[in-house]
């Protein structure tokens, strides 16, 4: 589904990603872990199409398409979803209206007719339940005045509504208490299928107790330095990131 080859990216002339290689297949969950400043958020931003970064080398193909050639909206329309680490507050834009616009623009891109209002509302109701999002929150302005946990739940709610093929969760666990974490992870697990894939980007192992990955990658100084089964996350948690530093001799 997703194939990243030798990806290099920099911002303001500073190289952050220094040759990432990653293959993600449908049905898989990949965890990318790494210390602060290792390039985790840069990777998610680059995949979603944030224009602040310059791609200096490498390629990213998504279901056979050159992802880097696509605008952020076309990436979303092709099925890439980024759950933001810091979801922005957009006062005056209703959550529901914006999702309706998003869904219909995605449908138009695929040559489909707009969704019927009643089907849309039924979908909202169903997906709200999935992430235990209060109906009032869904009707409010996007993230305005939401708590940290509510913002993250709203991200997963949007993900549920947009039904992406590839979901990238950027530090979705940061700032969540254990109950919120359980709800968010529960939502992700319920949305999982053999046709979609998930990349979980996180600093801590904690989230991986709830979202169990097929593969764990360790990102360090802009490169994936080690990959392994889910036990790698536990080892990392136990020994701390210093063990990676020693192992890669940095």
């Amino acid at each position: 589904m997703l194939s990243i080859k030798n990806l290099h990216a920099s911002i303001d002339g500073k190289e952050i990603l220094r040759g990432i290689n990653l293959e993600v297949k449908a049905g898989e969950i990949h965890a990318i872990m790494g210390p602060n400043g290792s390039g985790k958020s840069t990777l998610s931003s680059v995949l979603a199409g944030k224009e602040d970064y310059e791609i200096t080398e490498g390629s990213v193909t998504f279901n056979g398409k050159d992802l880097l050639e696509l605008s952020p909206e076309d990436r979303a329309r092709e099925g890439v979803f980024l759950a933001f680490q810091y979801p922005v507050e957009i006062p005056g834009v209703s959550n529901i209206n914006f999702l309706k616009t998003a869904i219909n623009e995605i449908r138009a891109y695929k040559g489909q007719t707009p969704m019927e209002a009643k089907d849309f509302l039924a979908m909202v109701k169903e997906k709200q339940k999935l992430v235990e999002l209060d109906g009032k929150l869904a009707n409010r302005s996007v993230n305005e005045g939401f708590s940290g946990g509510e913002k993250k739940r709203n991200e997963i709610f949007q993900m549920a509504m947009l039904e992406p093929k590839l979901a990238i969760l950027d530090e979705t666990d940061s700032g969540l208490d254990i109950d919120a974490l359980r709800i968010v992870a529960g939502g992700v697990n319920k949305l999982k299928s053999k046709d979609n894939a998930t990349i979980v980007i996180t600093h801590y192992q904690r989230l991986l107790d709830y979202i169990v990955p097929d593969v764990v990658h360790i990102l360090y100084k802009g490169k994936i330095v080690k990959s392994g089964p889910k036990e790698l996350a536990l080892e990392l948690e136990e020994k701390g990131y210093d063990f990676i530093k020693e192992e890669v001799g940095a």
């Binding site: 952020p72 909206e73 980024l82 922005v88 998003a102 302005s141």
Partner: protein, 431 residues
């Protein structure tokens, strides 16, 4: 030197017009003559005038003008401007009250509507007409007071609650360059309530028009008045629009100014808080593009203690247009415990657009809370990216954000049909 000669020319023409037409104008001639004198002292403001430096009035008034128009609009043409279906409709056509198209036959209890030229013997008219708008403050008030050709006088009697909005439709339709002075007086007596909507449009016009409109609103003790101006003279109207209010004890006056279009629009809002426990709200939204110039000047005069005023002005500036917000708050020595707030936020969408924003707080009392805030920026890139990352095109993301920006002001509209009308106008604008 050439500039000065030109100013004199416009001024002289205006004075000459007054002299030749004064015999046929309504009302007390002495009020008009005093106003003309005040005008001739001030003249037409030029770019050096502090109060008018961002609007080129000399250019706007260049050339020959008529001072009335005999062009008549059809019922069908007028109907297209009646966007509030259930309102009490007052049509001001080319500066004059049009009784044929106004819908004032069965008015609610306590409400009276007159052609202003028929109201001169009315007691409330005599008590209030031209008592508050200061001819020495502004040359356009002076000109209007001297030369007004018509308008409406509305009187809401003591304790009358008029629930139906009163829609004053100002329509301009001229075949030759025309300078119009229309004048409205609205008196809302003690404990009474009213909603006034004033809209300004140009229909089927073939020449330049300059509309110098003054509306005086008297809000007596405990009265509540909700006032709206919807300005939509497209990209060729020149409009100087003065709203002069005076409020008495415990009254609430809310005025909204929506400038949707217009080649040159200057709003002067002069609010006098003349007693205690008064509330005044001023909300404004201006959307400018092309080479439009919109200038909002507010003056909130706190004369007595324990009053609140609140100003919220927002603008979206596109292309080569320019917008000005100049908000003056005056807190007099007696006006202790005043709360006066002001906020002006702008989105500048082009490198060629201009924003001038100037808060002016003059405070002579010591126990007051006053604040002002202003910001000008572009649309937030992080918000645009967030929306695009969900599948919205860049254009839809921007449109949504502009709506969201405007919604803070649009949301203050209490009449649902009016809110929908303004929202639809904004949608159309950002398509």
């Amino acid at each position: 030197m050439e500039t000065i000669t030109k100013v004199n020319t416009i001024k002289d023409k205006l004075i000459a017009e007054f002299e030749s037409s004064k015999g046929s104008l309504f009302g007390d001639l002495s009020i008009r003559e005093q106003a003309l004198e005040a005008f001739s002292k001030q003249g037409i403001p030029n770019r050096k005038s502090e109060e008018y430096k961002y609007v080129n009035m000399e250019l706007a008034l260049k050339g020959e003008f008529l001072f009335s128009s005999s062009k008549k609009l059809s019922a069908k043409q007028i109907e297209s401007s009646q966007f509030l279906k259930d309102a009490i409709v007052v049509v001001i056509e080319n500066g004059k009250f049009n009784s044929e198209h106004s819908k004032i036959n069965s008015l609610p209890q306590g409400l009276q509507v007159f052609n202003i030229s028929d109201a001169i013997s009315n007691d409330a008219f005599k008590k209030h007409y031209s008592k508050y708008s200061d001819v020495n403050l502004d040359p356009f008030i002076a000109l209007n007071t001297a030369m007004s050709i018509g308008g409406v006088f509305i009187h809401v009697a003591k304790s009358a609650v008029v629930e139906t909005p009163i829609h004053i439709i100002h329509l301009t339709s001229v075949s030759e360059n025309t300078f119009l002075n229309s004048r409205n007086l609205i008196v809302v007596d003690e404990n009474a309530q009213a909603t006034i909507v004033e809209s300004y449009e140009i229909i089927d016009s073939k020449a330049k028009s300059f509309n110098n409109a003054v509306t005086e609103i008297i809000v007596e003790a405990n009265a509540i008045v909700d006032h709206y101006k919807i300005q939509d003279e497209r990209d060729f109207g020149h409009l100087v629009c003065t709203t002069q209010s005076i409020q008495k004890k415990k009254s609430v006056f809310t005025t909204h100014t929506f400038t949707l279009s217009g080649l040159l629009v200057r709003n002067n809002l002069n609010m006098v808080l003349d007693d205690e426990f008064i509330e005044s709200h001023l909300n404004g939204l201006y959307l400018t593009n092309g080479s439009q110039v919109v200038d909002n000047h507010t003056l909130v005069d706190h004369r007595k203690p324990n009053c609140n005023s609140n100003q919220l002005y927002k603008g979206i500036i596109e292309e080569k247009s320019s917008a000005t917000f100049n908000g003056k708050i005056y807190v007099r020595k007696d006006a202790q415990k005043t709360n006066a707030f002001q906020s002006n936020k702008n989105i500048l969408l082009s490198d060629d657009g201009t924003i001038n924003t100037k808060p002016q707080l003059e405070i002579y009392a010591d126990d007051v809370k006053c604040s002002h805030g202003t910001s000008t920026g572009k649309l937030d890139e992080d918000k645009i990216f967030y929306l695009r990352a969900r599948g919205l095109s860049e254009a839809s993301a921007k449109k949504l954000l502009m709506h969201a920006f405007a919604s803070e002001v649009v949301g203050t509209i209490k009449i649902e049909a009016l809110r929908e009308y303004v929202e639809a106008k904004i949608s159309k604008r950002f398509e």
